[in-house]
Each structure stands twice: as structure tokens, then as C-alpha cells.
């Protein structure tokens, strides 16, 4: 036998389970007094740069029922396309924008909602720019490995057409599952996620 490569294996994922709120949003779950507030509830403040938008949506199961027990996390660049992360080497992102959000779905309706800003464009590996997008990560009871997907904006048709990730989706009709649509006369973008069915959302292995 040759020497071992000695790589470790990633810790296997397990579902967040039905009580995921206890860990990730305890105040939402009624467990008060342990942490002063739940993490990820505010991405912006009054000084954040950029166009304010709201993302609203649901996560639907294979019967079309909304998941009322899921948690959605969001990660995105600031208005200039910079990430508020130590791994961002191009410059300092807006200090008034966290880039990261966490929202438990409403326990009656399944609605999730993020008040954020429209992200700027981020470079693509190998040159060029990606279309403006937001990364989502979804966990819930019944989901064994957190699901990664992306929100793109339907009103960015030219950028979307050139986006290297969208162009990885060979079945072009499925790209529409990643488009958020602006609600007429408002700053709200609707983005529903379907776990199964003919309009199953594209999920990514990133």
C-alpha cells in the first residue's frame, strides 16, 4: 500500500429536525433570556447603501403545501458587489450591511421574508461578472442535507443570459425557477421554492 493521503471526510449532515428553531432562532421559538436576540434578523440599517428590496417566498413540498417549519438563510454581496467576509480580498464591504440573514418560516403561513438590498455584481471565476444573485440555504425536518439555491432577478435579463451559473443549467426552462419577480408597484420580489414537481427549483451542489 502507498502512503495514505490522510484527507479527512466531511462530517456527515443530518436533518435539522422539527425543533431546529430552538437552536437557530430560540427567541422565535419562545425560548427567551438565553440570547438577547435571534441572529440574522436584520441585514440592513438606516445607513446601508443600495436599493432596498424585500424578498418574500415559501418553500413548498411535493404536495404543494408550504413548509411551516423550515429555516432559510441568505448570503449576498453588498450594493457594490463586495462580500462582508474576511475571504473578500477586493475591498471592504459596506459596514452597514451584514450580507447574511436567517428567517424561520411563519408557523401559520410558511412565509419567509428578508429586508435587504439589491446585490451588486460579483466577478465570475475566469473573468467577467455574474448576474446579481443571492445565495439561499434551506434546512428543515425531512431535509437531510441543507439545500443550496440562488435567487436571480427577472428584471436583469441581459445579465442573467450571460451568467455562468445559470448557463450550467442545461434544461433552459428550469432556469426560470431561480428568478424572483418584482411585485407590481412595490419593492418586494417574490421567490417561491418548490422541492418537487414539474417546477422543482434548481438546487446546487456547490
Amino acid at each position: 500500500m502507498p502512503q495514505s493521503l490522510e484527507a479527512l471526510k466531511e462530517t456527515p449532515s443530518q436533518t435539522g429536525g422539527p425543533y431546529v428553531h430552538i437552536g437557530l432562532a430560540p427567541n422565535f421559538a419562545g425560548i427567551t433570556g438565553v440570547f438577547p436576540s435571534d441572529l440574522g434578523t436584520h441585514l440592513v440599517n438606516e445607513k446601508s447603501r443600495g436599493e432596498r428590496i424585500t424578498i418574500e417566498g415559501h418553500v413548498f413540498d411535493g404536495t404543494g403545501e408550504p413548509l411551516r417549519d423550515c429555516i432559510v438563510e441568505l448570503w449576498q454581496a453588498d450594493a457594490d458587489g463586495l462580500y462582508p467576509s474576511p475571504s473578500e480580498m477586493r475591498g471592504a464591504a459596506d459596514p452597514n450591511f451584514t450580507g447574511w440573514g436567517r428567517c424561520p418560516a411563519d408557523q401559520q403561513t410558511g412565509l419567509f421574508r428578508f429586508d435587504t438590498i439589491r446585490p451588486g455584481r460579483v466577478p465570475a471565476p475566469g473573468g467577467g461578472l455574474q448576474a446579481p444573485h443571492i445565495t439561499l440555504w434551506i434546512v428543515a425536518r425531512g431535509i437531510n442535507l441543507g439545500l443550496n439555491t440562488r435567487i436571480y432577478f427577472a428584471d436583469e435579463a441581459a445579465a442573467n443570459a450571460a451568467d455562468p451559473v445559470l448557463n450550467r443549467i442545461e434544461l433552459t426552462s428550469r432556469r426560470a425557477t431561480l428568478l424572483a419577480h418584482r411585485r407590481e408597484g412595490s419593492t418586494i420580489y417574490d421567490f417561491d421554492i418548490r422541492l418537487q414537481g414539474p417546477d422543482e427549483t434548481v438546487f446546487f451542489d456547490i
Binding site: 484527507a7 471526510k9 466531511e10 462530517t11 456527515p12 449532515s13 443530518q14 436533518t15 435539522g16 429536525g17 422539527p18 425543533y19 431546529v20 430552538i22 437552536g23 430560540p26 421559538a29 425560548i31 433570556g33 438565553v34 440570547f35 438577547p36 411535493g62 413548509l67 438563510e73 448570503w75 454581496a77 462580500y83 462582508p84 467576509s85 474576511p86 475571504s87 473578500e88 480580498m89 451584514t98 447574511w100 466577478p123 465570475a124 471565476p125 455574474q130 445565495t135 425536518r141 425531512g142 431535509i143 437531510n144 442535507l145 441543507g146 443550496n148 440562488r150 455562468p164 451559473v165 450550467r168 443549467i169 418537487q196 422543482e200 434548481v202 438546487f203 446546487f204 451542489d205 456547490i206
Partner: protein, 250 residues
């Protein structure tokens, strides 16, 4: 959020591909809820972009003194939570065996009787008025973390006609990049319910299951106080750099 707590150079490399066969698949029929919540199409793969290699950072200023002490962090009276007192500790590594410092680790669990403090938990076992069931910490420079809690009890759950969860603690871990985001569960060495668990049983590889079982760690017990269990966590590894030239074997 604040700057990274580590002095190490920022991680900017692309992620190594995820070995999805090591994880439970989306559809694990013995765990019935997965049936309607499992995507049926293949996930689309692409190489890391900046959106995946970056991630949020949480500074130590976030933490309160009792955040990693579930025995005392919920009590109003000062009375300790009921149950066998344990220390859970370990280190966070990446797949290249590098310690991962400065990452937020959140954990939650049932009480010693196997009951969660959650309005949807209807198990007849009692709530402990002094136990909330959540905590958090941030890994140290060497990737180490620890917290104090009580050993959670096993509990029945509505899946099959008589399914029981082995004792377990849920973990949520951030990495330096958002693609490392992970939720998992830690189990306890010697728990006889482990082979019967439909959720753990969704993992195909026995070695992967064993990676989730924390051994009793006598060397780190506190005499006359608490036993200890060791649970190391491995996050996805990165290539050494995303942007620099790739002449060095990347």
C-alpha cells in the same frame, strides 16, 4: 458581525467537491418526512465562485458568559438543569486537516427526559423548568470548542409505529465560506438505539455513521462533576487558492 478573530490569512480557495455519498441522500424513505421534501432532480454542480468561498463571520463579542453552559443559561432561579452533567468538546477541522478557528457553532437538544422546549413537542415526558436547550460558542485559534450541558434523553417520535431517537445533540456550524454551512447531530457512544434510528440509518456508509458518534472521553471528565464526550467536526476543504496562478498543483 465583526472582523475575523483569527490571525491566519483569510481563506480564499475554491472548495473541494462534496462527497455526497458520504451524506444521507435527500430521499431516505424510512425517514418518512423526507419523501415529500426531497428534491428529485440532480443538483447542478459548479465550481466555487466568490459567493461560495466567502461567508459571514461572528465575533467573540457576540457571546455571553453562559452561552456555552446549557446547565445554567436558562435557569431563572439559579438551580441547575436536571440530568447527567457532561462536557462536550472537540475541534473543528477542514478536510485537509487544518484547524478552523473563529466559526460559530450552535447546538440544541432535548432535556434529560427526552423532551424539547418547543410547542410542537407533545411527548409526555416533563419539561425541566431550568433547561432551555440551546447554546453556542465560537471555535478557538486551534479549532477547539467546548460546552457544558446535560445528557439528553432518547425519545419516541411519530414516524413508524415505534421509532425512538437515540440521545443526540444537534449542531449547526458555519465555516469560513458559505458552502461549508452544515447541520448535523452528535450521538453518544454505546447508545443501543443507534442501530434502530431511521435518521442516522439514512447514511449508507458505516464509517460515516461512526463519525457522528462521540466517544466517552475519560481523560477530560471532571472528577465528581461531569463526564466528557469528544466530538470533532470536519468541514469541507479548500483548494489552496482560487485566484492565484495554478502552477502549484491546484
Amino acid at each position: 458581525m465583526s472582523a475575523a478573530s483569527s490571525n491566519r490569512a483569510p481563506e480564499t480557495g475554491a472548495f473541494l467537491g462534496r462527497d455526497r455519498l458520504w451524506h444521507p441522500p435527500a430521499l431516505t424513505p424510512r425517514y418518512k418526512t423526507s419523501i415529500l421534501r426531497s428534491p428529485q432532480r440532480a443538483p447542478i454542480s459548479f465550481s466555487s465562485t466568490l459567493s461560495e468561498v466567502t461567508g459571514p463571520v461572528f465575533g467573540h463579542a457576540l457571546l455571553g458568559d453562559l452561552d456555552n453552559d446549557l446547565i445554567l443559561n436558562f435557569t431563572k432561579s439559579g438551580e441547575a438543569a436536571l440530568g447527567p452533567r457532561i462536557i462536550v468538546h472537540g475541534r473543528v477541522f477542514d478536510e485537509r486537516r487544518r484547524p478552523v478557528p473563529g466559526v460559530l457553532i450552535e447546538f440544541w437538544q432535548a432535556n434529560a427526559a427526552g423532551r424539547y422546549r418547543h410547542k410542537k413537542d407533545g411527548y409526555l415526558a416533563p419539561l425541566d423548568p431550568n433547561f432551555g436547550g440551546c447554546g453556542r460558542t465560537i471555535s478557538a485559534e486551534d479549532g477547539s470548542y467546548s460546552f457544558r450541558t446535560i445528557k439528553p434523553g432518547p425519545y419516541p417520535w411519530p414516524n413508524g409505529t415505534n421509532d425512538w431517537r437515540p440521545s443526540h445533540i444537534h449542531f449547526s456550524i458555519f465555516g469560513s465560506g458559505f458552502a461549508q454551512r452544515l447541520i448535523t447531530q452528535m450521538y453518544f457512544e454505546g447508545d443501543p438505539l443507534i442501530p434502530h434510528d431511521p435518521i442516522l440509518g439514512g447514511i449508507a456508509d458505516r464509517r460515516a455513521i461512526e463519525q457522528l458518534i462521540a466517544p466517552l472521553d475519560m481523560a477530560n471528565t471532571i472528577p465528581m462533576d461531569a463526564t466528557a464526550y469528544k466530538f470533532d467536526i470536519v468541514l469541507r476543504g479548500r483548494r489552496s487558492t482560487l485566484f492565484e496562478n495554478r502552477l502549484e498543483g491546484n
